[in-house]
């Protein structure tokens, strides 16, 4: 066991699965860098260096640099998955889904269903999401509610290095299309990650704190925000439960209801746009299945319904923060 960053954990998952199974290939823009040129090879390893170092192990046959066309990347990866490979395709920023969404929504997500269960599409799509990098409104969105909305796609949001490795290995081994969403701010966070290969099953949410007074439900980056708020509250004499959803599809409804019923006071923290997001969905779930356990109205912390601002002070104001989560919690404590 050793301390690894989120970026290293993802790299190690890819390395170990590619060593284990020769059908695993990586497809994307600059996933190595330098293909077809006389320039430096493996110059990039993806735009933030996550796949760097894999080229020397597996060569250009399995680390495939593509032209700048997400449509072709997703088409190629889906076809490869249908015909026996286990591709890990990189959709650099999730914001670019617009140009390849038909491949994902109407083709990949539907194959198993349309072919009567005879076709499998073991495709993993890795993508970056989220704000905080001053990258403006076309490179800072979350958009996971849009994928969660579509049956046939599994949606994974790892919140820490241990989960990132285990959930990515599970994604690659899974026989259905999976969108694996990495928050940009998490790449340099670190945690204990076993050197050995392991997988975390989908649909198993994780309690990162346990308490009696209030429940935070979080996903991806917002988990750490809630953990910090819970730790501060503890010092003030209030104990909080934090539930990390880990996967949005499948969704661990049992754990959500269990976490909600433990305290009856719920704050859901979701960085995506506030209409039809994960917070509203979970709020509806709790209201339908566990209304009697509620001791206060369900609170949600999400950004306002606007594009992500480019101005740094505005972006800071826009994103869920410890201060916002804390003040929201205090409204119902």
């Amino acid at each position: 066991m050793s301390l690894k960053t989120y970026r290293e954990a993802i790299n190690e998952a890819l390395l170990q699965e590619m060593q284990k199974d020769e059908n695993v290939v990586i497809i994307g823009e600059d996933v190595a860098g330098g293909a077809g040129t006389n320039g430096e090879q493996d110059a990039w390893g993806g735009v933030l260096g996550v796949t760097k170092g894999l080229l020397k192990h597996f060569g250009r046959e399995r680390i495939i640099d593509t032209p700048i066309t997400e449509t072709a990347i997703m088409g190629m990866a889906s076809g490869a998955a249908l015909t026996g490979l286990r591709p890990v395709a990189e959709l650099m920023f999730v914001d670019f889904m617009g140009v390849c969404f038909d491949q994902i929504l109407n083709q990949t997500a539907k194959f198993r269903y349309m072919f009567g269960g005879k076709a499998v599409t073991p495709l993993t799509i890795r993508t970056m999401y989220g704000g905080g990098l001053r990258a403006a409104s076309q490179h800072s969105q979350c958009l996971y509610p849009m994928f969660t909305h579509v049956p046939g796609i599994k949606v994974v949001l790892p919140s820490n290095p241990y989960d990132a490795k285990g959930l990515l290995i599970q994604s690659i081994r899974d026989n259905d299309p999976v969108i694996f969403m990495e928050h940009k701010n998490l790449y340099d966070t670190s945690g204990e990650v076993p050197d050995e290969s392991y997988s975390i099953p989908f649909g198993e949410a994780n309690f990162t704190r346990e308490g009696k007074d209030i429940t935070f439900i979080a996903m991806g980056q917002t988990v750490e925000i809630c953990n910090k708020v819970a730790d501060t509250l503890k010092k003030e004499g209030n104990s909080a439960t934090v539930l990390d959803l880990r996967t949005l599809s499948p969704l661990d409804e049992d754990s959500i209801l269990e976490a909600a019923e433990e305290t009856g006071k719920i704050v859901i923290v979701d960085e995506s746009y506030p209409r039809c997001n994960i917070a509203t969905d979970i709020s509806a779930l709790i209201c339908q299945k566990s209304f009697d356990s509620l001791k206060a109205g369900i609170k949600m912390v999400s950004p306002p319904h606007t594009p992500v601002p480019f101005s740094p002070p505005l972006e800071d104001l826009y994103l869920p923060s410890e201060e916002k989560v804390m003040s929201t919690a205090k409204e119902i404590l």
């Binding site: 241990y162 392991y198 997988s199 975390i200 309690f207």
Partner: protein, 373 residues
């Protein structure tokens, strides 16, 4: 400074413990305490347990209150004999805190002291705490456990013994593979382990499946093994909760696994979320389930215990103690009835399958008395 003042410090339960949170003080300022009396309840990342008083005397000042966390080794209370003045006590606290260096603050201590050794092509992980003591002590955990199971024993007993604790193949940080899983094969591995560590004699403490390995090792290596302390051993009867083994292997969720882990204890409050998560993390590692399945088939056969070690244990001419929780739900404690008289049998009340975690002071006392006679 008054010499009769003594510090009571946060204990270190296991290698990874950095700090503990005090859940409850059973004594308050001014109350008399005696050595071995339950003093307080502490929660670590892995376990909730009671701490016994290390001293006789009187609690003069509690320094860490209920609900507060304190690093390992830090001052949580001051104990004394007389009614020392406030000033004396404050000076004592100041001086202690001035000299106190937290483990968590020193970077090098972040590295654990796990060591690896290759035996029969399998990489075995172990920890050792070797000093100038005469006796060597080896801990062997049970099915699905690891060397951290000895968190209340290994550290404590290392004051008087050279202690070794290993992870069996397929467990803990050892390689997740097992070529030959029989008790004979694993006792061969234990023998080699001692050889490679230059141990001419060894006292073995084994739990459950690990106790079975200990009996076999003693039977096959009479020169090597000097004493045995066995906790809820296999091999003394047919009955065993065979469902526990299968369910443990096949637990995929926290909820399922918690149900299984609860069967191990009399007092299930001892189980923390992190304790369950640690086991879940272990079960998720590639090849763990396959390896455990192989070992399971060495323990049970058609829902009954496969090994019969009664003749072997009763024929041994060394000091042996057997400790069994009266409420053991995995292997019933009445199986100890087959043991011959000269084997010291301790049936512990309000205790399940994990006496070394639930009743560590009893277990540590029995280990000591078995070794020193």
């Amino acid at each position: 400074m008054s010499s009769n003042l003594k510090p009571i410090t946060m204990p270190k339960w296991g290698l990874s413990m950095k700090e503990g949170t005090i859940l409850k003080w059973f004594k308050s300022n001014g109350e008399n305490i005696s050595k071995g009396e339950i003093l307080l309840e502490i929660e670590t990342e892995k376990v909730v347990n009671e701490m016994e008083s290390p001293e006789d005397g009187k609690i003069l000042k509690i320094c860490t209150n209920e609900g507060d966390a304190a690093p390992v080794g830090s001052l949580i209370a001051v104990c004394g004999i007389n009614d020392n003045s406030e000033k004396e006590i404050d000076e004592f606290i100041n001086e202690f805190n001035l000299n106190f260096v937290s483990d968590a603050k020193t970077q090098e201590n972040d590295q654990d002291n796990n060591e690896k050794i290759t035996i029969s092509d399998i990489e075995i992980n172990f920890v050792k705490n070797v000093n100038t003591n005469i006796h060597n002590l080896l801990f062997i955990h049970g099915f699905g456990g690891d060397l951290n199971n000895w968190m209340f024993n290994e550290n404590e007993l290392s004051k008087n013994y050279n202690t070794y604790a290993l992870d069996l193949p397929g467990h803990g940080l050892s390689e997740k593979i097992i070529h030959k899983p029989s008790l004979e094969d694993i006792s061969y591995l234990i023998n080699k382990f001692c050889e490679k560590n230059n141990l001419d004699t060894i006292n073995i403490v084994g739990h459950s499946f690990g106790a079975g390995i200990a009996i076999k090792t003693a039977f096959l290596n009479k020169e090597l093994v000097k004493t045995l302390t066995l906790i809820s051993p296999i091999g003394l009867g047919k009955e065993i909760d065979s469902n526990y083994l299968s369910n443990f292997i096949n637990s995929d969720s926290r909820k399922d696994l918690k149900k299984e882990i609860e069967k191990l204890y009399f007092n299930t409050d001892i189980i923390t979320r992190d304790m369950v998560n640690e086991v879940l993390k272990y079960l998720r590692i590639d090849n763990v389930k396959e390896t455990l399945e192989i070992i399971k088939n060495e323990i049970i056969n058609q829902e009954e215990q496969k090994n019969n070690l009664i003749e072997e244990i009763n024929s041994l001419n060394i000091p042996i103690s057997v400790i069994w929780g009266e409420d053991d739900k995995i292997i019933p404690s009445n199986q100890s009835k087959v043991l011959v008289e000269n084997i010291n049998t301790v049936i512990e009340k309000e205790c399940g399958h994990m006496a070394h975690i639930e009743k560590p002071s009893t277990v540590n006392e029995v280990i000591t008395s078995t070794i020193i006679g």
